[in-house]
Every structure is written in structure tokens, then in C-alpha cells.
Symmetry: C2
Subunit: 902 residues, 2 copies
């Protein structure tokens, strides 16, 4: 027993009882007791029927790892006391041979954590106690069924003996006796199987299956704590930004049995529909089964309600029909729980011989669409406030609502239909395992992961895939739950599918689909289709609109968009963008019509040659701005002058050079020479940004002219005036801005003279270099606004090229140097300090300095919260992220602190 080997140890209260006569915890103690433990205590406090048990705290987990995987010496005693309380409540004794108390051991972290050792049921059974159980229950079949379940489960998760060994033994026994279903086996069959299981364990491990209930208990507890650090759990934490220090709790609870006969059942339910959010009780159960049977998808589950049964076209009876009394109790319980927790609950229950027992309640996972509906409904029902409703939606989950769905008019070659397990449409090449999914996705391909069923080992592949298709399992199967959480489309339990991993093919309705073939799945309808089916933009529900109005009412930050084209501008405005925060002008230069003139400009050695080429670009560039200004009428539009190094516009291979030389009418050798001359060792730190404007002011002059002329043209059309914000990139010194500002102002004066009207405009700069942040006080003398270019600021502050980081980013995440990719969520300690310094120094020079952010971080919730807390005026992000930013900004304003800061 590990606890006795501790060489040093903390002491403390490690064990909290619940149920029975004494409940020590409550819901708000989830950090200490884990989610499951805290809620079991809370349900006990509410007077609900909870089997008595105790929770070993997350602090114990931390102490265990801090003390080199040894337990504190005072744990043993606390556990014995808590076990005595259970024994007293149920009137049975753990390990007693005539009336043995059996317990379940379950992990329970602060946040739900797939990948960890989950559950061991029926713990306490051995060759003697099984006989006691048989005698006491009067059901030897039940006792031996429980024992074989226990051996199989314990061996799998604690002793690490692969479960296929046991399945094989069971299958062989069934074949030998010509039996079909597990329920066909009688007590003697199970006795034989149990013997086979125990022999197998001894064969595999070289020692017998542990017979001491105490040893079994310590083994199970250690397995839970050990699984906290296994690969799958570590992966999940990495993907979900959960710190390892949180630790897990362990719940030890008296067993109740859903498998004692047909007056027994076990089930899981949601207090509202987790897929649509409809205020309808929704769930699945199995008669005469234990809990894991439902989740594992081994038997096809039955619906709780008649309505749901009909909707699913299920032939199996609903609980509402065959157990109306217990069902009625369950309905009372769920209503009480939802009202108490003020949120949709995901509950687990067992019915033992007609008595309802509650085994779990927690906030239920739901699709983004459901989350939205539930939040808006609950606010409308008066259960929560509008601000609470706003805070209930994970901003990044909106992504799911904004993704395209199948074009309703498109032709479909439907292969089969499964359960609509996670909404959204996805299309891609078929792959059959998680590793392959990851490899192909890394190579830039869209893939659909096809599995019989998924397990925690598959998480990385599910993350990499666009969609998941399984042939087995229900709406609460692993595949379905995880896909919804990740926002991946999922069709689950498409039973017509036969998956052949070895041949890398699946067959359905006589057709074979092999690895690499393209299929489309629709996670909202459950349809699986051959080939690529066109998609359309989602129509946003009224709930979305309502929530966004509430969010907009609460937020302080403005939300603009990064848009370079009229199309993007239009989409963004529809999503509620309040202007453009970053219009990159270089993308406009890559247009086929223009690239020739751009290249002529670049290869010109003298200013006159450059000016000639720029004159050709002027009308096209002006037209770009005219269109964007019309769309953004009445809103600010920030235009960044040319930023990338000129060589980005030039061809690189000899062949391309020859082609371009011919088209441009220049000597290929000369062009090749110029290409070589312009090449840079570190283009990111090269001749780009305002450095181009300093060397070739005529480029910026042309762009400024195009902006001013376009602004005057659109103003002249009547309607709301646009005020362009001219943004100079990559400034490191105030002097650069001073020089370029003077040149742009001169162009404005010239345009004013020519057109008879002075254009209104602001001039400002990107703050994207550490030096610019430090010199912000000086730079603000010249700048009317700052826009934080946190992509480049992250690159320079860390000295990490985004293009090259992939090679070591994994090492950095794995070794917890980065808790999150700093290009995804702003590094508040480093990059964030520079942003704060710049904001402070800039505003102390110019108190009405406009501050915004236009890096990718502008659409990341944690970063938006940071921007709010730093006092920026707005964030700017890609069009599809605009709603996310609006919501994040509202949450930051409501919560008054960073939501994602660490």
C-alpha cells in the first residue's frame, strides 16, 4: 500500500463524505472535490436520493505527485472513517462475506476530463463476497455478472490487461454454448467465464487477480491518480488549456444496481435538448444494465420520453411508458436540479428494483446552437439575467453557427444516415485512424475520420478532422460528446456502415468507399453523402440576434474587421463589424491585372520608372477603396500602406522569371539579377513596412492619393462620409512617421487643390515592434491612432517566426513552456506588457489617441478580454470572428476581468 511508503508528507483533510447522514461538501467546492464530487454533495444537500460515498480531494492528487507518487500518512485513517459512514448508511460492510458493500470508484476533476481512468464498478467483489452477494440478492446470475464485469473493468483500467482478452473468452464461451446475447448466459455460465477471466489475469500478470477489497480499493484510487498524467489526459488538457496543477478527485460510492432485473435500469439525460436547445427532457436508458453500457454504445439505447422515441423512429419502449412512476420522480428531480443550478443539466441515474438513485449532475455539454437557445430561453424565462445569458456562451463556439451548411438545392448522393450527433456540414477525404487524420490534416487536407466508434485515444485525430463518422454509438457516445465540444461535425451510429480497417475501406448499401475518397457528412441531419456537396452560409437564428443585441448593449470595446476586399467587407458588416480595422493593400497588388505593373515598378531602378508603373496602378487602387468605402459608409476604414518586402511580388524559379520577363518586356537576366538582389535572409525583419515608404516614397504617395480621391468620390455621391485612417506599418521611430506623415499630408493638400475639397483623414501607425511600443510616447506626437499588430509584435517580442515555429511549437506545448500558442492567444506577460506600455505612453502624450488591435488575436476571446482590460478602443478581426469578438468584449465588460488570462 503506497501510503505506508511515504517518506515525507503533508497532512490535511483529504476526505469529504456525502449522502447518508453526513454531507461535508457542496457545489461551490468543485476545485477541491472535483465537479462530480461537489455535485454529489450538492444533490445530497438538496435531499435527492444519492448513494452514500466520499470524495478524496484534488489536493490529495497534488500532494501525491509532489511527494513522488506517495500518499500522506493520514489518508488511510480518513478513508476508513468515511467508509464506516457508508457502511452505517447502507447497513452493509465492505469486504463482508455475507452481505458485502460494493463500491464504485470514479475520477472527478474540476473540469470534465475524457482520457482519464473513468470508473470501476462493483469493487469489493472477490471469490467469497460474490457468494455473499448471490445469497443476499437471491440472484446468483446477477452476482456473477457483476463479478465478471468488475474483473474485466478492473483488469482493463487498473491492471492494464487488455479488454479484448476478456471479450475473446466470453465470445468463445458463447460460441461453445451456442448463445447469442449476454442476457442468454446464466449464473453457471458467468461462473465459468469468471474463472476464465481470473486465469487470464494470472497468465498475463504472473500473479492472481487481487482478492482483498482493500487492495482493490487502493489499486483503483492509484489508477485514477495515475491516469491524470497519462498521454490522453495530457493531450486533452493541452487542447483545452487545463493546467496539470488542478489535479483530480476520486469518488468512492456505494454501488446501486441497474442490472438486478427488469425493474432496474440505468440512464443518462439532459434537462434540455443538447443539440437544439429545445426545452424538452432528453435522454437514453437501458433496462437491466449498468451505467457504462449506455455510454459505451454496446447496446442500442432506448429513449426516455415518448416524444423522443417517436422522433427517433425507435421501436424500443420509452421509460415514460414502462416505468411511469420512477420516470415521474426523475422529471421532478431534473426540474429541481435545473432550477437549482440555473442551467441545463446532464444527469446520470440508476433504478434499482424500482428505486431511483442519482449518480451525477453537471452542466450539460451542448452545441453552440443549443447553448444560444438555452441561454436566451432562460433569460426570457427569468431564470437568469441577460448579462448571465451573454456570459453563458463560449464565444469561440459561435464558430459552429457561422460555418456553412449544405446547400439545400445541391444534388446529394446519400450513402446512408446516422445520428445527427454534432451539427454542421463537413467534407473531406476518408481516413480510418486518428494518426492518419493528423498527418493528412497537417499536410493541408480536409479529412473525415471514419471509425466503428471512437475512444479517448482518437482525440488528436478528431481534432485534426473536419468531421467524424461512426458506425456505432448514440448521441451520448464518445464520438458525439467530443465532437460537439470541439465543434466538429459528427454523424454517429450509422449502423449500415461496415468498416474494414485492414482494407482501409467501408462498405454501405453495396458500395465501397476507400481511403482518400471524398465524402460529405451533415451533422445536423445525420446524412452521409458521396463526394463533395456544395454548402451555403448559415442563416442565423433569432436567438443569435437577440443575444448579440444584449452583448452589444454591455460591451465597451468596438469591434471592427480585417477586410481587404468588398466581399469581406460586406460579410463583416453583416456580422456587425463597426468599420475596418485593417485593410491590407498588398493583397490588391496580387490581382492578375495588376501584378505586371507592380513588377514593373519593382524592377525599375530609378524613381521615374517606378512612378510610371505606379501611375498605372493608381486608378485600380482607387477603385478598390471606392467600393470598400461605399460598403462601410459612415464607419471608419483603416488602410495600411504597402507592407511586405517587394521581392514577395517577384517570381522565383527560373521558368517563372523568364515568363515574367517576357510579359514585362525586360531582360530575363536583368530580372533574375534584380530578384537575387532583392532576396533577403530574414524577410520578416527586412526592407518592408514603412521602410519601403522611406526608400520609395512614391509608392506611399500613390496609395495616399488613391485613398483620398476615393474618399472624395464616395463623399460626392452623397450619403454618409467615410473618414479613412491611413496606417503606416512597421514604425520603429517617431522620425519615420514624421517623414511619411509629411509626404502624405502633402498629397492630401495636392488632392484638395485639384478637387476643390479637402479630404478628411487620420494618420496613425501600427505598433508591431518592441521599440515602437517603448517609444510610443514619442510616436504619439505624430500618430492620431495606434493599431497593435500583435502578430508581428509576437514574432519580434519572442524572436519567433510564425512561419518557422511549427518545428518546435509542439515541443514547447508538450514541455509546458507555452500553455497556449502565443500566436493564437496573446502572451499577456510579454507581448501584453508591451501593449500596456504603449497604450499608457501613447495616451499620456495624446489623451484622445485611438487604440485598436488588428492581429489575429483580435478574434480570440482571451485576447479580447485583455484588450478590454487594457483600455483599447476596439479590436479588429476576420469577418467570421466578428460575432465572437462582440460576445467576448461583452463578457469582458460584464465580468470586469480577463476571462482567459492565466
Amino acid at each position: 500500500m503506497s501510503s505506508s511508503t511515504a517518506n515525507q508528507s503533508k497532512t490535511g483533510k483529504w476526505v469529504y463524505s456525502f449522502g447518508g447522514d453526513k454531507t461535508e461538501g457542496q457545489a461551490d467546492m468543485r476545485n477541491l472535490l472535483g465537479g462530480k464530487g461537489a455535485n454529489l454533495a450538492e444533490m445530497s444537500n438538496l435531499g435527492l436520493p444519492v448513494p452514500p460515498g466520499f470524495t478524496i480531494t484534488t489536493d490529495l492528487c497534488t500532494a501525491y505527485y509532489d511527494n513522488d507518487r506517495n500518499y500522506p500518512t493520514d489518508l488511510d485513517g480518513q478513508m476508513s472513517d468515511a467508509m464506516a459512514l457508508i457502511e452505517q448508511a447502507v447497513g452493509m460492510k465492505f469486504g463482508d462475506t455475507s452481505d458485502p458493500l460494493l463500491v464504485s470508484v470514479r475520477s472527478g476533476a474540476r473540469a470534465s476530463m475524457p482520457g482519464m481512468m473513468d470508473t470501476v464498478l462493483n469493487l469489493g467483489l472477490n471469490d467469497e463476497t460474490v457468494e455473499g452477494l448471490a445469497a443476499k440478492s437471491g440472484d446468483a446470475r446477477f452476482a456473477y455478472d457483476s463479478y465478471r464485469r468488475f474483473i474485466q473493468m478492473y483488469s482493463d483500467v487498473v491492471l492494464e490487461v487488455d479488454h479484448y482478452h476478456f471479450e475473446e473468452i466470453l465470445e468463445l464461451h458463447k460460441e461453445g454454448k451456442g448463445l447469442n446475447l449476454d442476457t442468454d448466459l446464466d449464473a453457471d455460465d458467468w461462473r465459468i467465464v469468471v474463472k476464465g477471466f481470473k486465469d487470464k489475469v494470472e497468465e498475463e500478470l504472473g500473479r492472481p487477480f487481487p482478492q482483498s477489497p482493500q487492495d482493490q480499493l487502493w489499486g483503483a484510487i492509484s489508477a485514477v491518480f495515475g491516469s491524470w498524467m497519462n498521454r490522453r489526459a495530457v493531450t486533452y488538457r493541452k487542447l483545452n488549456d487545463i493546467p496539470a496543477e488542478w489535479g483530480t478527485a476520486v469518488n468512492v460510492q456505494a454501488m446501486v444496481f441497474g442490472n438486478m432485473g427488469d425493474d432496474c435500469a440505468t440512464g443518462v439525460a439532459f434537462t434540455r435538448d443538447p443539440s437544439t436547445g429545445a426545452a424538452e427532457f432528453y435522454g437514453e436508458y437501458l433496462v437491466n444494465a449498468q451505467g457504462e453500457d449506455v455510454v459505451a454504445g454496446i447496446r442500442t439505447p432506448q429513449q426516455l420520453t415518448i416524444k423522443s422515441k417517436e422522433a427517433q423512429h425507435s421501436k424500443l419502449p420509452a421509460m415514460e411508458e414502462i416505468m411511469p412512476v420512477v420516470y415521474g420522480e426523475l422529471v421532478d428531480v431534473y426540474k429541481q436540479l435545473e432550477k437549482h443550478y440555473r442551467d441545463m443539466q446532464d444527469i446520470e441515474f440508476t433504478v434499482q428494483q424500482g428505486k431511483l438513485w442519482m449518480l451525477q449532475t453537471r452542466s450539460g455539454k451542448r452545441t453552440a446552437k443549443a447553448a444560444l437557445k438555452i441561454a436566451v430561453d432562460m433569460a426570457n424565462e427569468g431564470l437568469i439575467s441577460k448579462d448571465e445569458a451573454v456570459c453563458r456562451i463560449e464565444p469561440s463556439s459561435l464558430d459552429q453557427l457561422l460555418h456553412p451548411t449544405l446547400d439545400p438545392d445541391a444534388e446529394r448522393d446519400i450513402l446512408t444516415r446516422g445520428l445527427p450527433a454534432s451539427p454542421g456540414a463537413a467534407c473531406g477525404e476518408v481516413v480510418f485512424n486518428a494518426d492518419e487524420a493528423e498527418v493528412e490534416a497537417a499536410a493541408g487536407k480536409s479529412v473525415i475520420l471514419v471509425r466503428v466508434e471512437t475512444s479517448p485515444e482518437d482525440i488528436h485525430g478528431m481534432h485534426a478532422a473536419k468531421g467524424i463518422l461512426t458506425s456505432r454509438g448514440g448521441m451520448t457516445s464518445h464520438a458525439a460528446v467530443v465532437a460537439r465540444g470541439m465543434g466538429r461535425a459528427c454523424v454517429a451510429g450509422a449502423g449500415a456502415l461496415t468498416v474494414d480497417y485492414a482494407q482501409q475501406v467501408f462498405t454501405v448499401a453495396g458500395r465501397s468507399i476507400k481511403k482518400g475518397d471524398i465524402i460529405t457528412i451533415d451533422g445536423s441531419s445525420g446524412n452521409v453523402m458521396m463526394g463533395e456537396v456544395p454548402t451555403v452560409q448559415p442563416e442565423l437564428s433569432g436567438d443569435f440576434g437577440a443575444l448579440m443585441v444584449w452583448a452589444d448593449g454591455s460591451r465597451a470595446l468596438g469591434v471592427r474587421t480585417n477586410a481587404d476586399t468588398p466581399e469581406d467587407s460586406r460579410v463583416a458588416r453583416e456580422f456587425g463589424a463597426e468599420g475596418i480595422g485593417l485593410c491590407r493593400t498588398e493583397h490588391m497588388f496580387f490581382d492578375a491585372e495588376r501584378i505586371l505593373a507592380v513588377r514593373q515598378m519593382i524592377v525599375a531602378e530609378e524613381e521615374t520608372g517606378r512612378r510610371e508603373a505606379l501611375a498605372k496602378l493608381l486608378p485600380m487602387q482607387r477603385q478598390d477603396f471606392v467600393e470598400i468605402f461605399r460598403i462601410m459608409a459612415g464607419l471608419p476604414v483603416t488602410i495600411r500602406l504597402l507592407d511586405p518586402p517587394l521581392h514577395e511580388f517577384l517570381p522565383h524559379t527560373e521558368e517563372e522569371i523568364a515568363g515574367v520577363a517576357e510579359a514585362a518586356g525586360v531582360d530575363a537576366k536583368y530580372l533574375g539579377h534584380r530578384v537575387k538582389e532583392l532576396a533577403e535572409s530574414n524577410p520578416m525583419l527586412g526592407h518592408r513596412g514603412c521602410r519601403l515608404g522611406i526608400s520609395y516614397p512614391e509608392i506611399y504617395e500613390m496609395q495616399a492619393r488613391a485613398i483620398f480621391e476615393a474618399a472624395l468620390e464616395v463623399s460626392a455621391e452623397g450619403g454618409e462620409t467615410v473618414i479613412p485612417e491611413v496606417m503606416i506599418p512597421l514604425v520603429a521611430t517617431a522620425k519615420e512617421l514624421e517623414i511619411l506623415k509629411a509626404k502624405i499630408a502633402a498629397v492630401a493638400d495636392l488632392v484638395a487643390t485639384e478637387k476643390g475639397t479637402a479630404p478628411h483623414y487620420l494618420i496613425g501607425t501600427m505598433i508591431e515592434l518592441p521599440r515602437a511600443a517603448l517609444q510610443a510616447g514619442e510616436i504619439a506626437k505624430e500618430a492620431e491612432f495606434f493599431s497593435f499588430g500583435t502578430n508581428d509584435l509576437t514574432q519580434t517580442t519572442f524572436g519567433i517566426s510564425r512561419d518557422d515555429a511549427a518545428r518546435f511549437l509542439d515541443d514547447y506545448i508538450n514541455q509546458e513552456i507555452f500553455t497556449v500558442d502565443p500566436f493564437v492567444s496573446i502572451d499577456q506577460d510579454g507581448v501584453g506588457e508591451l501593449v500596456k506600455i504603449a497604450a499608457e505612453r501613447g495616451r499620456s502624450t495624446r489623451d484622445d489617441l485611438k487604440l485598436g488591435i488588428c492581429g489575429e488575436h483580435g478574434g480570440d476571446p482571451a485576447s479580447v478580454a485583455f484588450c478590454h482590460n487594457t483600455g483599447l478602443d476596439y479590436v479588429s478581426c476576420s469577418p467570421y470572428r466578428v460575432p465572437i469578438a462582440r460576445l467576448s468584449a461583452a463578457q469582458a465588460a460584464i465580468q470586469g476581468f480577463a476571462t482567459g488570462s492565466d
Copy 2:
């Protein structure tokens, strides 16, 4: 007249008189009056014979440019008043036709400024006043000689009529009359020449030569101010870090005449020998000449002293011989001036009909060797303190003393001999013009610039050349003065040389040396040699040693060296390095013997393959450290673990790849694939530094082992123990250091177990990323020392790649965005703030944190001063810069503030 067109203007005191009855300035007003003006006033105050005059202030220059090249309205009146004072003092009137006052107009900036309009003499002469001068002096030849000099000079520098026009007219006249020397011409000859000059000016400009003395005066003043912004002056300021805002003053002074006969003379002198520093009066003069004749090198000058005449083997009489009385007065004056100014003076004087007039005094330019001797001598003479002596030496000038000289035993093919104008030996390809010198030098060639004489237009070429050779001019010629200032070797006035610019060849003693031929010049002996002559290290004088001892006594900063090899370590220790601040281990990997193992390590895909290759490198790496530790016995040695991205060690062309693949026994295709796989878009921001250690800890483990084993090996030899400082590069987070520190400590423990002795060592990090500077408080929890890698810190803070900056650096210097290349002298505002932040935060975590700097800035005087002021413990620089750093550190400590900060 410009002053009348001023549309707005400042008022103020613009004019300061000197000489005569009223002297308004003094020496410490050089910022306002310029160096020349302030010293003329100071000499007047000392009662020395200074022709009366006035100075127009540098403020006026600034006001002139600020007001769009218009003069303040109150200038005119102040000038008239000051002119009246001159007239009163000399009893003559400016513009008077019977007894005209003539004046000189000279520029005079705060610092001596070649490249500007320098001097106009004899101003005030016109067709009428020349007759008055003739009558009054009784010497028509003198009057017309003065008039022709005035027209030629004024036309050249004010009217911009090229001087060759006038030389041609004069030559034609001499040929026509069969005359040889200028002195052969009589008054009538000069009258004819003057007529020709005036006609030429009218022909060139379309208007007559200005006859109004007032117009002449305003023209000359405007020419001085205008020349402040000419290309040569701007170039010079750029090279010498002189801000444009300083402006120049103008000095207007009554003419005295060195050309009124054989009792007249003009000369320049140094109070000590400017080449050697010997305490001997040293200078040149010409009888019956005006000042510019000496400097221009048109006539071969005579020596002042008999001793010097003999040393130079001159046939011409010394001033000491033929003008003993005036010479005696001059000796008294120079002694008084040196004592008064407490420094070696460079003086100009004119003797008019037996009377001595002082025209200028200033601190004399001198060679580094002379500066050293003068400073040490003066301290020993009690004239200045030792600290003053230390501060008298421009640290970067020590470079000259540390450069190699000719190997005395080497064979020499001497072509000719000139004046030893600037010490040091130089060797390179012959080029004949400044532009070519610049081009060839930029292409990486060493060049010797060969000219008849140099002029301010040649400065950029002189800067680019290793040495300068002229066929004309003395020790105070333009070539000599500028070369000494720049630390370039120079042989001047090698009269035997005939330079043919058109044919790009020079001939001497019947031999032709054409462009591209290699020659060697020795600026210390005056020898010019064919081909390349081997060189030897300089033997440092006792003065150097003495001054360094004084410097070391005053400085607080330690001085270490950047050395990767035993050779460098040895040289650095001889130069006084107190340890190694940066030993880069990657250079060791490029050794031919090792690169194969390095490449094997890189192409290995698995850790075991890498470990095998590293095992081969271990003994070699250990031996590197053993040698260095022996040399640095008793001193700290900071070793940086592998820093560059691995692809730097791989071949790049297909041919090289094939060769390496064969040698390494791997498939060429695989190697090519690996090379491509490792290539990076921005290697500077890529997979390098500690990121390598995180991904491939075995590399750092091997290096740590080599260090510890070497340290124990050297310790075991007895003698002083080395304490290696293991330095982790490119840290951005404390966690990186924490992880790597643990791995290195584990290696140390292992080595301790194996060898029975624990190695002593420190672990620290480079601070070379902005994030590291900001996170210094956290990082210091892990680091025992910081070394600021200001090269990379400059790159990331500015977002500028050093390798790519050349393309725009010129634009940045020209447009004054940078006053100095931030890679040469630390950017105190930006990079410097990060260094300060890091020092402060680091020390607040760990108060005994060792702080050093190991970027190139460690050898730059201004940056060393910054490091002193920031409280660093030491600087580290390349071996040859160690004395510079020692001296700079002492000056910073003595002066108590940054010497070069702006």
C-alpha cells in the same frame, strides 16, 4: 540681399566682436561662436595679436535654415556696428577707394568640418579699391595679386565658377610671356590676368563679377551657410556623428597680408609633433604667401625649426633661421597657448612686414600614438591630471595603435618615398578615384586610393580605402589631416609619382603601376612598396601601458573578450581581457574534422542517431575547452551552448549535398530532403538557441559534459581553477531555462559521480529577446548571470535583420532617422530601455546577479559608457577592442555620464 526678404524672423544677438577694443566672446562659447570664433576671442582676451573681426553665431545658421534660408531683419544692423569697430581698430574703411579695409570670411563650426566652404580672403577688393590698395601699400603688384586671388577664390566658392578656368587663363598668360613661376609676374601681368578672370566670370554667369563690397560680403556669408548643407559636409557629419542642428558660425576678420614681400610669411604649426607626440614645436610656412598656399600644397612648404628642416632633409631655410625675431615671438605665443589651453594646439599665423598676427588656434589633430604620448607627457609634466589624460584619448583611436605594421624582416620592393602622413601599414589594389574605392571596398577588396592630392570630395573614398597615397601636399595637407583623423595609413607628397587618371596608371622611377596592381604603403616611414609586404603586430609603447594602468585604476566595469579559439583568447588576455564573456561553440563545429559528425547528428531522425554522432564530437569539444581554460586560468569563461539553426551546418547546392552525402554515407536524396525540411523563412527567428536544447537536449548535454570534464581536467593540472559559466542562448521564458538548467545540472552530477569531484560552474542566460528583458524578474530566478546579446536584441527590438539592413540603412542615415547605425552603437532609447528594465528586474529578484554585455556594442565607446551608467558588471568585446573598452570604461567612470549618448 537675403535679409530683406525675410518673411518672419527671430531676433537676437547674432554678432560678437573680437580683437580691437572690444572682445565679446571667449573659449567656452564654442557652441555659439564655433571653434574658430571662440578661440579668436580667447586669444584676444589673452592679449595676443589677433586682427580685429566679428563672428556671426551658429544660432544665426539655425535661424537661417529654420526661416527658409532668410536672415533675421536685425542682422544687418549688428553687422554694420561690428564692421565699424574693425574700421576703428585698423583705421581703414570697408569699401573705401583710397584706403580700403579688406576682410577674410571663414566658416567655423563647433567641430572642425572639412567639406564646407572654408575661406574667402581679400574680400572688399574691386576695380576701384584695388587702386587704393596699390597706392596705399605702394605695391601695385601686391594689390593686383591680391585682387586676382580674391576673384579666383570668390568665384570658385561663392559663385561656383570652376577654378580650372582661372588656372588656364594664368597658364596661357605665363606661356605667352614665357614666364615660369607666379612670382615672375609683375603688376601689369596681374592686371591682364584680372581682366581675363573678370571676363571669364561674366562669360560663365552672364553677369559681371560683383563690385560692391557689401554684396561680396553677403555673398560670402551665404556661401558659408549654404555649404553647411552641401553633400560633402553632410557626408562628413554622417561619418562623424555631428548633428545638422549644430550649424556653423562665420568669422569676418580684417585681412593681414603674408604676401606683401619677403618680410611677410604665412604658416601653420603644432605645439607638439602631431605624428609622434614629441614635445617639439613643429610646422611649416611659406615666405610671401597667403595662408591657403600652405594648406593647398601648391608650393612645397618650409620648416619652422632648424631641427625639423634637418630631419626632413629640406634644402629650404627654416623660419628660425631667416626670421629669428618673429620666430621668437611665435615660440612665446605657442608656449602661452599650450599652457593656457592645457593641450597641444594647431595654430595659424601670418607675418605682415615683420609683424606676427595670430589667425587661429585650436586643439591639434594628432595620431593615436601622438595623442597617447601627449596625454601621458602632459600628465607627467603636471599640466593635466591622470584622469584627464585618460579622457584625452578617443578610445576608438586606439585601433590605430593595435593594427599591424610592416614586418621589419620582410623583403621590400620600394617604389618611392613620400611624407609619413598617417601611421600604419596598408596594402591593397590601386584605385584612382574615390567612387571606385568605394565600389571595390564594398565588394570586399582592400584598396589604396592614389591621387595627385585629395579634396573634400574624396572623403567617402578615403573612408573606404585602407590607405591613401598622394603625389603632392605636406603633412598638413588635406590628405594627411583627414587620414590621421580616420586612422587610415597615408603617404603624402610622394613627388616622384606621376599620376595619369585617364590611363588609370601611375609611373615612378620608370615603372608603371596600373589600376588593380597591389601596393603597400607605410604611413609611418613614408615608403611606398610594390606588392604585398608582410606585417607584424604592433609593439605597444610604454605610454600605452601607462595610460591603460591609469584607466584600469579608474574604471568600474570589467572587460572581458569574445573569443572562440585559443588564439583569440591569448591575444585578448595580452590586451588585458579579464576573462571570456562569450565563447561561441558553433564555430568549433565548422572545423573540417568535425563537420561530418555534426552533419551526421543533424540528419539523424532519432535521438539515438544523434547521440552516436555527438559522442564523436565530445572529445574534440572537450579539448577546445581545455585549451581555452588553460589560457584563461583564474578568470571566468562564459560558454554559450549551440545557438545557430542546424541548417547552417548543412550544404546547400545540389553538388555540395551530393559530396556530403557520399562522405557521410547517406542517401543524397534523403540528405536533400532533410536540407529542405530544415530550411527556414526567417532563420534569425527560427529553430535555434535554447529551442534546439529543448528539442534535442542531447546536444546541450554533450556540450555541458565537455565543459565540466574540461574544467576538472584543467583543475587537476593544478594552478588556478576555472569557473565556467554555462550560457543558454535565446531564452524567452523562465521555463526554458528551468528545463535546460535541470538537464545541465544532471550532467554535472553525473560527471561528479564519474570523476569523484564536482565541477564548479554557474548557469545563466543571454538576454537577447525583448520578452526575456521584460521577464527578467522571472528568468533571474533560474539564472545566475545575464549576458545582454545586444546584436539580436537590436534585431528583434527594431525588427531589423542585420543581414538585410544594408538596403535601407543609407536611407535611414541620410534622412536622419538613425543618427548612427544601431548595430554599431547601442540604441539607448529603445534597446537601452530594455537593457535597463532587465537589469533592474533581474537584480530585484537576485541582487548578486552578474550582468554583462557580449554584443558588438561591448567594444563601442558610447555603448560602454551606457553599460557603465546602467550598472552592468562587465562588457565583452573582440580581442582588438579590449583596450578600447578598458579606456571607454574608465572615461565613463571618470565623467560619470554617457560620453556618446544623444
